[in-house]
Symmetry: C2
Amino acid sequence: MNRLASLDIAFNPASVAIAGVGTLNGGKAYLDSLLSAGFQGRIYPLNPKGGEISGWKVYPHVQDIPGPVDYVISCVPAAQVPQLIKDCSEKGVKVASLFTAGFSETGREEGRQLEREVQRLAQGGGVRIIGPNCMGVYCPRAGLSFVLDFPKESGGVAFVCQSGGNAIYFVRCGARRGIRFSKVISYGNACDVDETDLLEYLIQDTETKIVAAYVEGVRDGKRFRQVLRKLAARKPVVILKGGTTPAGARTAAAHTSALSGSDAVWDALLRQAGAIRVDTMEEMIDMVVTFLFMRLPLGRRVAMVGGGGGASVLAADVCTANGFALPPIPPEVGSEIRSHLVTDAGAVLTNPIELNMYPESSYNIARSLLAYEAVHFLLVNCVVGQHPWPMFDAWFDIVCDTAIRVRDQVSKPVAVVLPSDIQGDDQVFVTLQQRYYEAGLPVYHSMSGACRAIDRFLRYHKRPTSTDEIG
Amino acid sequence: MNRLASLDIAFNPASVAIAGVGTLNGGKAYLDSLLSAGFQGRIYPLNPKGGEISGWKVYPHVQDIPGPVDYVISCVPAAQVPQLIKDCSEKGVKVASLFTAGFSETGREEGRQLEREVQRLAQGGGVRIIGPNCMGVYCPRAGLSFVLDFPKESGGVAFVCQSGGNAIYFVRCGARRGIRFSKVISYGNACDVDETDLLEYLIQDTETKIVAAYVEGVRDGKRFRQVLRKLAARKPVVILKGGTTPAGARTAAAHTSALSGSDAVWDALLRQAGAIRVDTMEEMIDMVVTFLFMRLPLGRRVAMVGGGGGASVLAADVCTANGFALPPIPPEVGSEIRSHLVTDAGAVLTNPIELNMYPESSYNIARSLLAYEAVHFLLVNCVVGQHPWPMFDAWFDIVCDTAIRVRDQVSKPVAVVLPSDIQGDDQVFVTLQQRYYEAGLPVYHSMSGACRAIDRFLRYHKRPTSTDEIG
């Protein structure tokens, strides 16, 4: 079976066995995750003790399972993995995902040897391995998951991630910003299936429109470059490289035994391949949100609406510092805006302009500002936490309605900044964020994050890279 | 009465009148805020219609109030403010805080004239003015507040803020990080009491240990410089300058009619005066948290503990990029740490090192790492949202217990990073954050934020400014 076909099975198995299911352990958590994700195929818990768990018959060994098994998740101790792989091979299992850790990432010779043995057994026995030391596959369309709380719906974003924790963090944070996933693969030590295999698979995966990847190291730089170039020619690819400093690289070696490579080499490689490099998980989320939800602006001139003088001052500074221009409002646009005002009190006819508590007036202001020909897109600056009194709570809904209406009426892009440092049980924030992304608007958690992502978006599409170019 | 004495009254009035109290308006919100803050003096709602509001007798005019009045909050329309100031003057009111907007910030001649008239009436009549176009004073010890949800307890941090929205945002965000306040003053257009008066007051205010300020412009640069230098010689001063770019300055002019001044001039002025300049609200909170809770490290060598390989790789990269070193663990410290492990599985003996689900083991690991002589302080990297299963929820409490115990046992500083991009109704996050700050530990919302703040803290105390200097 060729490499892509085995990955097809990993993303759509008809049957899954979980080795090492106990009453309260990783194996049980995988079982619960599959059930919660609505996996429709056959599920076989494995444990040498047999018996039952949560009403499911537990099979002692892979060979005891009556029907065929496509996919095995290993939660047994490292020393038992070689035997498990032999059993899998005999049973005709196509793919094994090894949650089990304790291999080359330990930095000890016995761990390295064990990993080589597993690799040899798998390749000799026709079983493809994801991991070891990984979370495996989240593929909502197939009902595959490794946690309980990931979204059940599919989407167009694939995430290839060397770290299990980063994969989980990315999906959870991304989900709250409206990202939905085609395939997420935490691939750990990559003793068999590696980042390049996965990226290659995604070239032809029609479900995937945008690819994000967290990579600590690659085994075959030349092949990686070739595949990445092909992939990036077809779809936006956003890459976060972990281990770019000596301390980070040392940590990466201990994490997934990755060889990190020099930062400058990575920079050149990613640029030449046409991938977008980001520096943090937050930037990666911002970038994916941008590709998913942001319409392409024709340039870098911004109209901004907000609701707080001081917040607008700081936001204007951040925009300018990031290479965006806020054109002043010319008299004729100013008069038009003034005609929309319900009251003059507190009216500030600059760009940024303040929205108010009157829905129709706010909408007309935003519409006039965005219709102004010098302006390329609208930034909505929505700072939860800066309004003094409950009587202003309705403001956020007015702004949200305004943003959605304006986007529907004016053929220019609209983006929303919802600063997130007000942390807590803030239902206003969560509800607003969901309203925005459900309407298809990109939501950013800081003005600087929005500017950085939209800047990269413009560069990716070869739009003006500085305000000097916009004439 | 001299300038400082009138400010004393503004921060501790025996009686407050609120002009323009209606059933659901700003005046009513001020009334509710005073009551909620536990103001113990006399309160007099004012409204020409008289009557009652929420059981309080409403007086038609200031003159109708039976006893003396120290402090008046104006929520009447701009055009009525001159008469109000005349009434205040006649009544012997010491300070008036003008929530009322519609003055010079409108950019129109009539607004500027009105503001000059108010200024003239106030200065002629012995009434000091805070504002107009401001929220006024929050002083929890005196029971003064302008919102309902600010902390009731006092603390050592003063915040002088030209923007009402930024003041509210700072107090709310800061409160959730453990900051408590002596005095917060939103001073708006500064037609009388200005930023320099307030900073001068804080020089001798024994309740205030740390000063933060958001400033859009100053009227008298020379006096500002002199006062700032005096203040910064006594207490840490953190300043955020709004309006540093042309668009920001234009916005500031429209916000508080401030003249922003050049960014380079501000940079030199603040550096020479010994104040710490920050670029965002988040950095200002980080800096205040650092001065409040961080013990001074002797240098820039960090020990880090965390709980996720990928998160540790990225954190190590961020630390290094920000001029901190993570010394590798030498064999003897490694053996000591190994002796604390309950199990070898997944044990990674690098720096950063992973904590585990065993409280005693985790504590001993952190203790050995921090006791290692090459290390100056401990960073705890606590990424909520990256753990797969509920069985790991206890991990965060184990880490929190570990951090507090280690801080109590080892005489080196400990700081905590609790990344906040997992946004929502996450009670785990909120509860953890509170546990940390209540134990007196600084909590940061990103690794880069922590590094930037601790870097500035070290520079402020003239500690090594790069890892080259630490030998």
